[in-house]
Symmetry: C2
Subunit: 175 residues, 2 copies
């Protein structure tokens, strides 16, 4: 997940770790940035795997910056993950949003459409949150629990908005 986001951000421009950390935090939408203890070891691992290159820039800075640049292998890996995302990236809200943020890097609209279509299938198939077996849930399926009613109301609004957007995008991409 973090590795994927790093690939995505570096595909736009080389960045150093600290900047990467802020961007990931902003994308995730929360105040909570990823922990240092997560970021730097991940960068090191990706460097070892040949996904990125590190150039240390000494100078008038707080500390020497390690500028990270995506390697061709890193770019290929990003495209590969965008092209055929694992189920987790389709079904997990956070991962899906991260994937969306970088989906423009897939050049072929048909490939983009294929990914959106997988998400649409997931959202509309019985068995997900809004279904009790074959029957779609309704707010009054949660009697005497206003909190679960709220939960349902929020989830429904999100789902509806996303499904509408997905259909629009699919129309315009396959046109």
């Amino acid at each position: 997940m973090l590795e994927f986001a790093i690939l995505g951000f570096l595909a736009d421009a080389p960045l150093h770790g600290y900047e990467l950390r802020k961007r990931v935090a902003a994308l995730t939408g929360h105040i909570r940035p990823i922990a240092d203890g997560t970021l730097y070891p991940t960068i090191k691992r990706m460097e070892r795997a040949g996904l990125l290159r590190r150039d240390v820039q000494a100078g008038q800075m707080a500390a020497p910056r390690h500028v990270l640049t995506l390697s061709p292998a890193g770019h290929a890996e990003l495209l590969r993950q965008l092209h055929t995302p694992e189920e987790l990236f389709i079904t997990d809200e956070n991962r899906w949003f991260t994937l969306l943020a970088f989906l423009r890097h897939l050049e072929d609209p048909a490939d983009q459409a294929a990914v959106l279509h997988r998400r649409l299938s997931f959202l509309t198939r019985p068995g997900s949150f809004f279904w009790d077996g074959e029957r779609p849930l309704r707010a009054d399926d949660f009697p005497d629990d206003p909190f679960r009613q709220g939960l349902f109301r929020i989830a429904t609004a999100t789902s509806r908005t996303e499904i509408a957007w997905l259909r629009e995008m699919l129309r315009s991409l396959t046109r």
Copy 2:
């Protein structure tokens, strides 16, 4: 997270592990159930911690069921976590929804309102997803990237729905 959900479900009724797994999966909204390798060790840990009791029921079943019952200590722990949730449960979508699903277990409406209020503060404070510094974001802050525009549209709809619901609930709880 899983431990919290287990506390919540067992507060309603004693259940065995397999049933618990299905309920957690249904709550999370995804097809993907939690892995066996997560569930049973967690149950064991909670048992050791005195949060729940296990009664093995032999019989005409597929395998002997281990019926799990919340102990008084477990119930106290659930209330404690509901009463003063960590920041993660306020800021992380998944955890927040899980918390909402069990918030009715807090008996005092004032306590419930306090928790909702923390979430409302989080959603409306500058610095979260919808803000660029002090300025609220708009869809055209993402030129040439229809996917990030979609992301923004979905996130905005969710946020608006949730904020509206939170205000309604807070009015009715503090009335």
